[in-house]
């Protein structure tokens, strides 16, 4: 059972990281829409835009991680979810398309009108995407996604009070996280007026997110046939802890302790996901629990190996990226490149490169196209690679060494 559960734990951790990191990026889009007019609005929009410049693509990848691990570990469950929730998932995909495109297009915006249009597209898709994803999760949470009977309830599954509330919670908590992070960033940059703007937004959004979460608790407990109460058993401590973390964040933001507030705000969101998972465990969909949905033994072992190996590479890399970003390295003024006087250089060994290139080409074609054995093909490919690299260098190194 442990092996069958582990991939789902990875998926949930990925979901938490997506909610906490990409969620804040979505929230930044939310605040761009509600930045107000004039110079002050412009300042808020710029701050929201630049805070995520280096990190948004990496934050977004957590969703890909969640999807791929889920469909490898629990393919039947994914098939059922994707069939019934085709519409909200498709909306989320479109939202991701417009959001990413708008972000990239902003680099080319010349006039204020162009930038305004791009920012509006960005903001609307930044609200639509978390809402659609949240509503899809709400549909699963309220047991409206059957394990079989694909494509049942294309609309009713996610357009109902319970699911819509989860969608609203996703938007509200994104806005709340973003406001806290942006206030912290502004404080780190020593920009007092921006700090005040985002502090007020964090307090308001935190209150709204808390209210939506409370309403969700009440609606969920009243839902017919949900059967997984958030207010009893293992889930209750997580629910209480989530509200406590949310309240602590409000207090910390009020007291201008933004760096600590970052952590508690993220914890509040993470604990919501944890409470949901604990309430349902081990059910994935009605009539389909973790053990039944899980892939075969070897696949599960490979998932663990891949996640452990991938994590060992990704987490230090992420640490580097966030370290550089949070320390403000990517907002520091640029220093002129230190490469002034060129070091004395050796001319390229042109004759040698050409000879090696011809030898590799002849050997490569012989091994790849005349021989039949697999190992010959493998060596043939390497020879062709050698040909390509030496030929390119033979042409290009003299070309770049030549002075105009």
């Amino acid at each position: 059972m442990l092996l069958e559960s582990l991939p789902l734990v990875f998926v949930l951790v990925g979901l938490v990281l997506y909610a906490v990191l990409a969620g804040a990026d979505f929230g930044a889009g939310f605040w761009q829409l509600f930045a107000g007019h004039g110079e002050r609005g412009e300042r808020i929009r710029e701050h929201a835009h630049h805070s995520m410049s280096a990190v948004w693509e990496a934050n977004h990848v957590w969703l890909i991680f969640v999807l791929t691990v889920f469909w490898t570990g629990y393919p039947r469950a994914l098939a059922a979810i994707a069939s019934t929730l085709a519409i909200p998932l498709f909306i989320a995909a479109l939202g991701i398309v417009f959001r990413g495109a708008a972000y990239a297009l902003r680099a080319g915006a010349g006039s204020e009108r162009e930038q305004g249009l791009i920012d509006t597209i960005f903001s609307i898709s930044s609200i639509l995407t978390p809402f659609a994803l949240g509503a899809a999760i709400g549909a699963i949470a309220t047991n409206r996604v059957p394990a079989s009977d694909a494509a049942a309830h294309l609309f009713a599954s996610w357009l109902n009070p319970g699911s819509v509330l989860v969608g609203a919670l996703a938007v509200a908590s994104s806005a709340y996280l973003a406001a806290v992070y942006l206030a912290a960033d502004a404080a780190a940059l020593g920009r007092g007026r921006l700090v005040a703007d985002f502090r007020a937004r964090a307090l308001a959004a935190g209150a709204v997110a808390g209210a939506v979460a409370l309403a969700g608790l009440i609606v969920f407990d009243g839902e017919q046939g949900v059967g997984h109460s958030l207010l009893s058993g293992d889930a209750l401590p997580a629910v209480i802890a989530s509200f406590a973390a949310g309240l602590a964040t409000l207090v910390l933001v009020y007291a201008r302790r933004f760096q600590t507030a970052r952590v508690t705000a993220a914890a509040a969101v993470a604990l919501v996901v944890a409470a949901w998972a604990l309430a349902r465990w081990p059910t994935i969909l009605p009539g389909l629990d973790v053990g039944q949905a899980a892939a075969g033994h070897d696949t599960l072992v490979w998932i663990v190996v891949v996640v452990a190996g991938g994590g060992a590479i990704v987490f230090p890399s992420l640490g580097l990226l966030f370290g550089l970003t949070l320390r403000g390295r990517f907002r520091a003024p640029e220093t002129a490149a230190a490469v002034g006087a060129a070091p004395p250089r050796r001319p390229a060994p042109l004759r040698l490169l050409v000879r090696v290139s011809i030898a590799c080409a002849v050997a490569g074609v012989g091994l790849l196209n005349l021989a039949d054995a697999s190992y010959a093909h493998a060596i043939g490919v390497l020879c062709l690679l050698g040909f390509a690299v030496t030929a390119v260098l033979a042409v290009l190194v003299p070309a770049i060494d030549e002075q105009p």
Partner: protein, 448 residues
């Protein structure tokens, strides 16, 4: 056998998938090959100290990050479609092939992280560290394409599982993804194609500039580097393509028969250039006797299996596959000629060709390379039909039962039309932004 799903719009679902794929794959080429070019230019700056190279590397890196963002979003759509359009495929075989995408996800992760560091690190990291921060982008571009292609190779040449009553058992993901002869030729073929496409598109852009009179040291080097890489890769594609085709001949005989329009199983089969497949034969084509047997099996009289070897409902649409194949090979040959012309001038005169016709050819080569790329994937994917997993699961058993596919298809097509107009707009803006030589530090408000 897995039963067909009741889905009236199977063809639209396939077209929607094909559209999503066709817009993504040229961006993948840039994800694989462009970082190598940018790093080469940055290295050229470190080697010579010439500020022109720094300017070029920085401008290219802005294009790189823009194209990467579009690759991210179109790739995300593809991963959603695995579930949205083909839930029965993913639901049945997710445990077999899914890991390929999981590892690809990690590659993509590292790529996104280091692209962030690389692009925002200009002038903020030491030149050497900055160059090093680009290396992971190159490596993960390779591993990412390796993993995606391992899944495609598995779909074309499946193994590593048994199917019992519609459920997979005895799954061995490693065997499924890596112990597969198909993986290697598809990977190498695509990897080289990435350099061909990226190189010719960039070279075409600067060739157009030259024809319009924009020509200096900066433009010359910006054309020479991608052109050289594309030329060498285009030449290498010849032997690589031959290798891939021979593997198709031995493992997917029906696909080969569709490529060649060969109806009856034939000894000493001829090859037809051009022409059209009709009623079991090629009309209006140029026949070259014995050539197909010779190319596919290295023997004058080798037996080549024809389409008649399988029932009619297990044959792919012959003309689609055949025309796509001839397009790919024909364009590939033309690109090879352009490459040889360039290299011949280089060897004799150590400079670029001067004829305007050469630059007009480069301008034309730019879109043609993309056509060849997509045509090649049409051969692979349409040639596999009617199977999604060759010989195991038919595409009509993989499709979703959900309604509304035409609406989704139309919405996606319209969205992509808007978004790609935006992409061309921003690329033009980036290309036309004033060239500053030597470079001044750009204001960070410029974004990417």
């Amino acid at each position: 056998m897995l039963a067909a799903v009741d889905q009236h719009y199977l063809l639209q679902a396939r077209q929607m998938q094909a559209l999503s794929f066709s817009v993504h794959i040229p961006l993948v080429c840039f994800g694989v090959a462009f970082p190598v070019l940018v790093l080469f230019v940055e290295w050229a700056h470190l080697r010579t100290g010439n500020p022109v190279y720094l300017t070029l590397a920085r401008r290219w890196s802005r294009i790189l990050v823009t194209l990467f963002a579009f690759g991210v979003i179109t790739g995300t759509v593809l991963s959603f479609e695995m579930g949205l359009l083909w839930p029965n495929f993913t639901g049945t075989f997710g445990s077999v092939f899914g890991l390929g995408f999981a590892v690809e996800g990690f590659s993509f992760f590292v790529e996104a992280i280091f692209i962030g560091i690389y692009v925002y690190g200009w002038g903020r990291l030491s030149p050497r560290v900055h160059l090093l921060s680009g290396i992971p982008i190159v490596l993960t571009g390779f591993t990412g394409s390796l993993m995606v292609i391992s899944v495609n190779a598995w779909m074309n040449h499946p193994g590593g599982f048994r199917l019992v009553h519609g459920r997979v058992t005895d799954v061995d993901p490693f065997r499924a993804l890596f112990e597969n002869s198909y993986l290697w030729n598809e990977l190498v073929h695509m990897y080289a194609a990435a350099y061909v496409v990226t190189g010719f598109i960039l070279a075409g852009a600067y060739a157009l500039g030259r024809l319009r009179g924009r020509w200096g040291h900066y433009q010359r080097i910006a054309l020479t580097i991608p052109l050289t890489v594309a030329a060498i890769a285009a030449i290498a594609e010849g032997p690589i393509g031959d290798w891939a085709a021979r593997d198709v001949a031995s493992t997917q005989p029906v696909k080969l028969a569709a490529i060649e329009g060969l109806y009856a199983t034939t000894r000493g089969a001829p090859e037809h250039l051009l022409g059209w497949y009709e009623d079991g034969r090629i009309v209006d084509g140029i026949e070259i006797p014995h050539l197909l047997s010779l190319l596919a099996f290295h023997s004058f009289d080798a037996k080549v299996e024809g389409l008649a070897a399988v029932p009619a409902d297990q044959r792919p649409p012959v003309n689609v596959v055949r025309v796509a194949f001839q397009l790919m090979v024909g364009i590939g040959a033309l690109l090879g000629l352009v490459a040889l012309a360039y290299l011949a001038v280089w060897i004799r005169r150590r400079r670029l060709p001067e004829s305007a016709w050469f630059y007009r050819a480069l301008v034309l080569a730019s879109p043609l390379s993309v056509v060849a790329l997509i045509a090649g994937w049409v051969v692979t994917e349409v040639g596999r039909q009617p199977w999604v997993v060759y010989g195991v699961m038919r595409t009509d058993a993989a499709v979703t039962a959900a309604r509304g596919i035409p609406i989704g298809y139309a919405t996606l097509a319209a969205s992509y039309a808007v978004v790609f107009c935006g992409l061309f707009w921003v690329l033009r803006r980036l290309a036309n932004s004033p060239l500053e030589l030597p470079p001044e530090s750009e204001p960070s408000a410029a974004g990417v």
